[in-house]
Every structure is written in C-alpha cells, then in structure tokens.
Subunit: 209 residues, 2 copies
Amino acid sequence: MALAKTIPGASPRMVERLSLYRRVLQQTSAAGSHSTYSHELAAACRVSAVQVRRDLMTVGYSGSTKSGYEIKPLLVAMDTFLGNTGPVDVALVGVGHLGRAVLAFLCWRHPRFVPVAFDRDTRLTERVLDGVHCLPVEQMADTIQEQQIRIAVVCVPATEAQRVSEQLVAAGVRGILNFAPVTLFLPSYVFIENIDISVALEKVAFFTG
Amino acid sequence: MALAKTIPGASPRMVERLSLYRRVLQQTSAAGSHSTYSHELAAACRVSAVQVRRDLMTVGYSGSTKSGYEIKPLLVAMDTFLGNTGPVDVALVGVGHLGRAVLAFLCWRHPRFVPVAFDRDTRLTERVLDGVHCLPVEQMADTIQEQQIRIAVVCVPATEAQRVSEQLVAAGVRGILNFAPVTLFLPSYVFIENIDISVALEKVAFFTG
DNA sequence: TTTTGTGAATCGATTCACAGCG
DNA sequence: CGCTGTGAATCGATTCACAAAA
C-alpha cells in the first residue's frame, strides 16, 4: 500500500491521462462511489486497464485486489504527484472570444487555476469578465513580476504571439499554453504547449477519410 | 523526383507535422522563396531535419541535393497526400465564445473548411457570425444529411456533448473535433479528436515545475 | 475467479549513420 | 563539402503474460 518509488519518468502523455483519470474520479466520487477498478477507470477514459495500473503505479498508489482503488486517497496521491498543492496564478493574454472561452473554462471547472487577464483593447480592460479582472497590457509585466506568475495562456492573434511571449518570459513566465498558430521561439527553459485548432481540424479531416 | 509510393502509414503525429510544414511553406512561399532545405523547415517547426526528410519521403516528394525542396510542387504533393482537393463542409455546434473563436479561425486562415454553425440559443441563430450563417439546432440533422457533412466541431457545454455527438453521428458525421471536457462514447468508425483545455493547462503547470 | 503489480516482449516513432549525388 | 534518402539502431510507450493476493 502506497510505496512511493520517487519515479523521475513522467511523460507528457502520462500527465494527460492522469488529468483525465482525476476528472473521472472526481465525478465518480461525487456520484457516491468509494472505490473503483482499473478497468472501470480505463473504460471511462478510453485507455487499457493495464495502462491505468501502470500510471497509478508510477503515481505511487496501490490498490487492493478485492475492491480495487480507493478513490479519495488515490486523488490525494495524484494531486501530490502532479504537484497540485495550492492555487496557481495564470496570466491570460488576449481576451477575445478564445480568451473568454478559456476564462470560462478555468472559472467554472478549475478553481485551482486563478487567472489574471490582459488585453490591449481598453474597452475590455478595467472590466470584470467571468469574475476576472481584465487589465491593460501595459500592466502585464509588472503584475506578473509582483504576483510571481509562472504560467501564461496566449490567446492573441498570430502576428502578436511571438512578441507577447517574449514579454511574458522576460517578466518571469516559464510555461506557456499557446493557441496562436505559430511556432514560438523562446529560451529552452520555457515549457511550451501548443493548441493548434487548424491542425487539429486538419487531422480530423484526414482520418475521417 | 516525385515517385509516389502509395504508403499506408500515416500516423496522427505525422499528419500534425505535415500540417505545420504546409503552413510554414505557404508563408515562405508568400515571402518570395522558391525552395527550402529540410533543416530550414525543421527549424521553423522545431523538429529535426531527419524527421522532415522522413515525412516528405512518406508524402512521396523528393528534393534535390542542390537546392533542397521546391516549395510549390511540394505543397501540391502534400495536399494530394492529405487529400486536400476541394473545400470541406464542417458543422460547428455551439456558438458561444469558443465556437466563435473557432469560426474566426476557420474563416480567416482556412478557406478550405466551410463551416455551418448551429446553436440552441435563438438569439444567435438566424444571424450571420464571422460571415457564417447560424442555424437553430432543430435544423442540424437535416442540414448535415442534405449537405453530406462528415466533419463536426463540438463546442457545447460538457453536459450536452454526448447527446449532441450522437445526433451528429446519426445524421452522418464521421469525424469530430471535441472541445468538451468529457469522454465521448461513439461507434468506433467515428474519428474523435479531443482538445481539452483544462488538461493542457494542467500539463503546462506540471512541466513548468 | 477476479483483480493488482510488474518483468519481459512488442510495437511505433525517432534518430543514427552512411551511401549517393551535385 | 553540404544535402537528400534510407536501412539499421535506438528509444519510448504500450501491451503481454503471469505471479501474488483475496
């Protein structure tokens, strides 16, 4: 039971799956369940049961052969592994439709991430959107430095993305979720995750045949 | 020179890269270049030069050792490989902030995909958004059948996604780009691509450390 | 019998290393 | 030389197969 093995290996793919597992487990837990089996979790996430067991092994949580995994402590173990201890401030740049969609996502589903929004458009700034204050970009660098924000979401047009990202990194940001359809060139110590809607749709079109 | 080899293997990952290559090549071409080297394309997409050569090999286009790859015919070869012959109709369900962001993406950058939008909210329907007509959901099934639409983008809330997807599939859709943070359960002949914003941000948070 | 935990095998994707060419 | 094309090697992720437990 719970023999942590201080594993170094955590691939991006695995972190994605863990994130999925957690969401499902939270729902299962809210629905009143107390424990679950690897094959149940697997079915709910469309992965194999072995995969689930491997991942949970990496997390360092062990189940029992009788009732599978206890959901509550498993969630704790996953949070510990993923480093989800406290709330995390997130800078969100660009409050157009996409930016507001992301804001809504964060505020509704993810109380863990606390966004601070920035935009160039003065009609948007100094307003409260989805319960989040929106500040003018001029205050971006200072705010990020003061609040020690390390994570940012880039929702600005493609033409602005590189410049904005450089400003973010200069202010102290070390991880970026980029929605702009461009390759960002930033120091290697910055983690970049790209979400490219055009590419994703292209993929669907290809494999739909 | 361009000895097509009728390759079966095209992994999702590779299709993503090809899509990236094409975007870069279009820009390079528009900037006046006539040819490019694998290492240039590689640098612009943050992949290795060998990877680029392998991918282009799969596409079936050969370059020359002197001037690398000719951009124009390479783009043609890629389009042929990806099956990008004519315009493709796409059903977009849910025209909230996210839906409108996707619409804007498609209309601005991707004249190839022709969207038809649907929403439950009658204040949105019968209006033109980003140059696209928005119809009430009641007309969704009929429109999809009539226009033979095979691809859809799901931008509805998580609670609606499963039901809406089933309707889409029943109407003839065979590929779905899903933004809702839920696992869709659909027949195996339906290709599903999930974009999960929460999961992506979770990943950034983890690897930012 | 069902389920977890896991070494070993497999599968797939990427890189290495080098041949061929201009 | 530098560049493309590619067999072979490598690396990583997933699955197989089975031991242990209840």
